[in-house]
Each structure stands twice: as structure tokens, then as C-alpha cells.
Symmetry: C2
Subunit: 434 residues, 2 copies
């Protein structure tokens, strides 16, 4: 049974435009392999942000940049609205050799939805609230950790000062990096929105295998992440007796191997990884005196996650001890598995019926900015397929018509939610989020 | 029984001067911890070379820079000599966070010996051959691998073109790096010398434990070194199923751990290390698709060494296979354990008796430029103590009077060897050196 479609006749997502914009933005930090390197607050990120500002202004938005560089484009859909606006967006930053789609598609889809809402307003549609497009700072957590920084500050999970003082591996603070590209803003962030929508590539192959264009995210895997440093003693690899060595790389390597073995204790229920590891002084005939690494465990089950976090800490401490090194924990973060609001998932499912594109429900293993807002406003996260499930790789690709399908769903949802004066869907209390 | 001292009355090493020069040179690439970062062909290396050129010229030397940047200072001790000169030296390059003593002391000692020989000539002593001070390019093998590059090319173990084409981790060739600092020379290297002497800090604690100032090196440990790259597949650390990951860092870590275990199979007879490891793209939530590492095994016993080299290769290949990655071997080198010429060690021991400073015999586990010349000319390598056995560390220190003791021995040996017309000590045939 098809539901009623609220998007008016004649208002529709421009076919192929989102894919076109994604392609255009791929020139910011372009890599030879077709991907992008657009680390948070890099020059390329600055260029991409400037182009987004230009596009938002052309579409009629008022631009706000907050203290951590979150970039908001406010579209006035209702004159003198006192209601909180609706919000939709994602992020423009990428991994060091990331794909072109990732968060960029979600920002471009938000821009397209905003333009279509503005078009409807011009054609006489009466909205009950405004709409805001957002590009969150440092979703990736590549150059600066933790991830989900901008949305995390907006949501109140992190203090602004703490986040601005975070340093990259070259010792540059986020504050300085944002200043360098002109995005350490002075504007107040908008108030907590009436709702938050995010469209993202799946970064997995469940949609593809199920031959669905749309995935409605019902919850997230939890994740525990540690940044640690092993401290040994610098020495010559030749004459230094093996028993006297305090090898930081050996401790780190033991951690990587033991952490991989940990995943096998809970098949399909526990993912473990070390993606980042820096050796110092990193010379072939010098025993390393310091290794920094980032380790993580992820699980859909909070009991498994919490146990795995403890096991990870034990793995690290034991690896340090048997290698005659010490270890310091630079930072740690814990995100528990949480459901997204069920009635909002139901609403999105009704929208999918209205537009005639069937959706499936799934969870998300990767983190997304939408997760920062769970419990603070009604939040929906929608996936479209990644070809081959590829993510964080230059070969990442999402078909243009899948992007349009996702954006069409978002447009329908935004139309409904911005047209209702008494919109109060599931007004959740601000809850505890680690 | 004290032997006859050939160094004439009134000619002696200037007390404390070598330590003073080592301190002066520590400003080139100075680090806050008292050490130096003077990577081969870096700006700091260029500055140190320029200062050495100045000092050599002031002392009356003629400077030659060969195609791989070896820096020679020829001192004319005998008018129109047709005999090959004697040679003494070491290297000015350092590890990324190296000590100030390491090779620098050996170059400064050679300069001091040359100046004293020139002083004796001015005072009427008649020499039978010239003397040459040398600063070899890239002994360390830190920025460019393999180590012992300059002396290796001089000795004919490496082709000049091959070595000039070697790239650092930023893709810069040795040829370009030398050009940048003005040390891609056009002079012919001097002919194979009549003898080669090298003074070096021990980089171990055997002299200190034995309370000796001088160690006469009788042979070297062999070393086998591999530069390898593991190739996996870049993916998201969140959603990518564990079984589908091709994690290059996991393969590398398994190699580090297994290589450490290999050392335990031959206690005190086998040293194994991984000092250098580069992860790509090196982001906390990306499965690494490439890890480059340098691995080495060292042993005083060639049978153990050759077995360990095979075991290392197996370790690497197995680590790659069980991690669903592939491995490529970028370079490999093998240096077998070889004795230094025994009659030359005897001569140095006689010199130590002549100057009244008792010496002990020992082997060297670390590689030194002198090893490049074994079998090509009579070669002696002499150690003075490293306090605490510390090496490749900013805290490396050799006491000034130990430096003077070593230089006094070298001066006595140089006097003897440059004063004999028919010097033909153990004229070894050019042998096979891997």
C-alpha cells in the first residue's frame, strides 16, 4: 500500500545533480586514483568549504561558522519563524586516501533538498519551520582524534576548548588549523534542531546484496577507541643485547597481533583494529623508543564491547610489560550501541512507501555524525549502497541514481517535517551519551 | 715489555681537542637532548661537511669530493710520492636522533692525526707516503639504505649509479640530495690506500666493563638485512568483516613478533630487529593497505646467520600469507662475519704497548666503514668506550681522555705506517664481499 506523498507535484530532486556535485568536489584534494585526501582543516578542506559557502549563498542561505568550524547554511522557509529549524547534513572531510562519496554526498544531498524546499516556498508552499544544511568538522577522526568532533561539540558531548586544543601528529592544534583556512568561526551555532536527517553511503555491502537502494538505520554498533603510546629505550639494533632491549615497536606489534586474536573470540560480533601506528625514531638500525598507535574494538552488543574494551586494555598492558616498556593512554573514547528513535524510522519507512522505493532496516557499524544527536532531537540516518561495499578507499563509488533515490526520500521526509506546525515527534530527553 | 714508540718526542695529540671538535660539530643538526639529527645529505650534513672542508684546508689538505659525496682531505707528507697514501676516517652523518660522538669522533681524530703528521713533517721528519682523511657518505643507512654506502662504492661493492639512484622515504634520490648540499662531487676518489685506520666509539659496554680504554677489533658479526613491503587492501575498520580484511599492519606486526622469537632460538648468538616501519595510509579507522619495514638479523656465526636469514624470509612470507596480504622484497643485503687482518691487529697491539695504554681484543656487532675495506687493504678498527654502552641515542658519550687515548694509538700507528718505504703488510687480494 502506497502512502501519501507530501512532496508537491513538480518538486523533485534534480536527476544526477548530487553525483555531479560529488564529482566537482572531488577536485578538492584530488588523488590520481580518483579518491581524495581532504583531511580536516587542510587547505583542500578549506577550498571545499569555500565552494560550499558559495553554493549555499547562491541558494539563498545565511552562513554561520561556529567556534569549531561547523559550517551551517540557514534557509528561511517561514518568515519570522520561532520554531527550531530542521537540519540535514554530513561532512566534507576525508581519510588520507579516502573515497569521493563518503560524507560529501550527504552534504550535497542536503543542499539539493534545501534548494527544492526553497523552490516550493517560491511556488507558494507554506512551511512551518526553517531548514539548515550542515557540514560538520572532522567527522573522520583521521588528522585529529576523536572522530565526530564537530557534531560532538554541537551536541554537548565534548567541550569546545578541549576539542580546539587537540593536536595532529605534527603538533598543530585544531584551533590553529581552522584559523589557517579561515574557518575558526565566531558565530553561535543554531539551537538544537527540530529534527536531524543524514544521508550516507553504506560502507558495507548489505544493501547491494539485498538489492535495495535505501537502508534505514535502526541503531549503531558501539565502539571503544584508545590512543596509546609505548615508551621504550632508543638503542643500536646491533650490539644491544636482546635481553636489555626495551623495544616500543615490539610492544606495539604484540598489541596488534593479540587484538586480532581477540576478534576471533566473538566471530561477527566483535571487530578489532589498529589502523594508525607511528614509530620513533624510525630508522632501520635503531631500537624504537616510542610507538604511538590507535586501537579500537566495535560490537553491536554492549556487554561484548565493554568486555572487549577491558581485554584491549589488558592486551596493551601485557604487551608493554613483556617488552620491558611502559605505556601511557593518551585518550580513550567509548560509544555504546544505541537505537535510533523507532518512530522516526517508521516515519522514514512511510516516506519510502510514499515515493515508491522500498527500504530495508539495518544497523551501522561505522560512526556517523547522526549518532552524536541521538537522544537530543529526532534523528534519522539513511544509507544508499556502496558498490562492492567499498569504503575508506579511493575506489569507493555510489551510483548516481542511488544518490537520487536517497535524496528523494530525504526530500519527502523534510517536506513532511518542515510543513507540520506542531511537529513534536518523539521529543526525547537529553540523555547520557559517552 | 714496552715496545719502541715511533711518534717523535714533542709530537702528541692535543689534549681535549677531539672532544672539543665533537662538541663544536654537535651544533650541526643539534637536538634539545644534546644529540644530533644529521641525516645523510641533509642541510645539517652539508653544514658539517663545509666546516670539515674548512678545517682540512686550514691544516693544509687538498680536498676531493667523489661522485657519491665521499669527502677526502689529502695531506702531502712526501714530495712527489708515488706510493699509495695511508687513510683514516669515519663519517659525519647520524641517526635521526643520534649521539654526537658516533662517527664524528673518528673524523676529528683523523684530522688531529693528520695535523700532527704535518707538524712532524715541518719539524723535519721524513715520511715515505701521504696521508688522507676521509668522511664517508651515509655510513648510517638511516635516510638511505643500505648502510656503509660511500665506503661500499669506494671498495667496489656497490655500483655508483645504483647507489646514486637510491631514494629516501620521500622519494628523493641520493644524487639529488647530494646536489642540494653541493656534495655531488666530480673528483676521482684517491686510489686504494696503503692502509685504512678507523677510530670509533664502541657502541657497547665491553671496554667499560673490562676497564680498558682501547679495543682492537678482530672481526665483525655478519648481518642480513631486508627492506620489505606488505601489500593489503585499504578498507574501513568498522564495517569490513574481519575475515575479509587484508591488513598489511597485521602482517608486519606478526613479522616483528616472530622475528623477536627467532632471536631466542640462539641466545647471545643472534640479534634480530625491526627498527623502521611505515604504515599507509595510517589513519585510525582505515585498514592499512601497505606497510614498509626494515628487518635485520646479526650473528658472529655465519651458519647461524645464513639459517636466520632463511628463517627471516620464511617469517615474512608466512606473516604475509596468514594475513591475506602479499609481500615484495625491495632490497636485501648480506654481510658475512669476517676477521680483520691478524697481523695488523698485532701491529696495533704493539703500538698500544709502545704508548703504554693496554688494549683488549673484541669483535664488532655494528657495521663500520672499515669493514668495507677488509680484503682490499690492511684495515684496522679501534674502539674507545661508550659510557654505559649507549649508542644511537642522544645520551651517547665518550670521555675526552678516552678519545685522546684512541687518537694517540692511531697517531703511533700512522707514524709507523707512513714512515716505512717498503710497507707491504699483508697485501690481501681483493676478495668476495657480499
Amino acid at each position: 500500500m502506497r502512502s501519501k506523498c507530501y512532496t508537491p507535484e513538480g518538486i523533485a530532486v534534480t536527476p544526477g545533480r548530487i553525483a555531479g556535485l560529488v564529482t566537482e568536489f572531488a577536485r578538492f584534494g584530488a588523488l590520481p586514483g580518483g579518491g581524495v585526501s581532504r583531511l580536516c582543516a587542510s587547505a583542500a578542506d578549506g577550498d571545499a568549504r569555500n565552494r560550499l559557502t558559495e553554493l549555499l549563498r547562491q541558494a539563498g542561505a545565511e552562513i554561520r561558522i561556529d567556534a569549531v568550524g561547523n559550517q551551517f547554511g540557514l534557509f528561511r522557509l517561514k518568515a519570522d519563524s520561532t520554531e527550531p529549524a530542521g537540519m540535514m547534513g554530513s561532512h566534507l572531510d576525508s581519510q588520507p586516501r579516502g573515497g569521493r562519496v563518503d560524507g560529501t554526498m550527504g552534504v550535497m544531498a542536503a543542499l539539493e533538498v534545501a534548494e527544492r524546499l526553497m523552490e516550493a516556498k517560491r511556488k507558494g508552499h507554506r512551511f512551518q519551520r526553517d531548514f539548515c544544511v550542515v557540514n560538520w568538522t572532522n567527522e573522520e577522526g583521521a588528522r585529529f582524534r576523536p572522530s565526530l568532533m564537530g557534531s560532538g561539540v554541537f551536541a554537548g558531548h565534548y567541550k569546545e576548548e578541549t576539542i580546539l586544543a587537540v593536536r595532529d601528529d605534527n603538533g598543530i592544534t585544531l584551533a590553529d588549523a581552522l584559523s589557517d583556512i579561515g574557518y575558526k568561526g565566531i558565530d553561535a551555532a543554531p539551537p538544537m534542531p527540530a529534527f536531524y536527517l543524514e544521508l550516507h553511503a553504506e560502507q558495507g555491502a548489505r544493501l547491494e546484496r539485498s538489492e535495495r537502494q535505501i537502508g534505514l538505520v535502526t541503531g549503531n554498533w558501539g565502539a571503544a577507541k584508545f590512543d596509546v603510546a609505548f615508551h621504550g629505550e632508543q638503542a643500536h639494533t646491533g650490539p644491544t643485547p636482546m635481553a636489555e632491549r626495551r623495544d616500543a615497536l615490539l610492544a606495539a606489534s604484540r598489541t596488534v597481533v593479540a587484538l586480532r586474536e581477540l576478534a576471533d573470540t566473538k566471530p561477527h560480533k566483535l571487530h578489532t583494529s589498529v589502523g594508525r601506528l607511528l614509530v620513533s625514531p624510525n630508522s632501520s638500525n635503531v631500537v624504537p623508543d616510542r610507538v604511538d598507535l590507535s586501537a579500537e574494538v566495535r560490537s553491536p552488543d554492549d556487554d561484548i564491547l565493554v568486555q572487549a574494551e577491558k581485554a584491549l586494555q589488558k592486551v596493551i598492558e601485557e604487551a608493554a610489560a613483556i617488552s620491558h616498556t611502559t605505556v601511557s593512554f593518551a585518550s580513550r573514547s567509548l560509544r555504546l550501541a544505541r537505537p535510533l528513535p523507532g518512530d522516526f524510522v517508521d516515519l522514514l519507512e512511510d516516506c519510502s512507501r510514499a515515493i515508491g522505493i522500498p527500504a530495508m532496516r539495518l544497523d551501522t557499524i561505522s560512526g556517523h555524525d547522526a549518532l552524536s544527536l541521538i537522544g537530543l532531537c529526532p534523528t534519522a540516518l539513511v544509507f544508499v549502497p556502496s558498490v562492492g561495499g567499498i569504503a575508506h578507499n579511493e575506489a569507493e563509488f555510489t551510483r548516481p541514481d542511488d544518490m537520487d533515490a536517497g535524496a528523494t526520500l530525504m526530500l519527502e521526509a523534510a517536506f513532511r517535517l518542515c510543513s507540520e506546525a506542531d511537529f513534536s515527534l518523539h521529543s526525547e530527553k537529553r540523555g547520557e551519551v559517552a
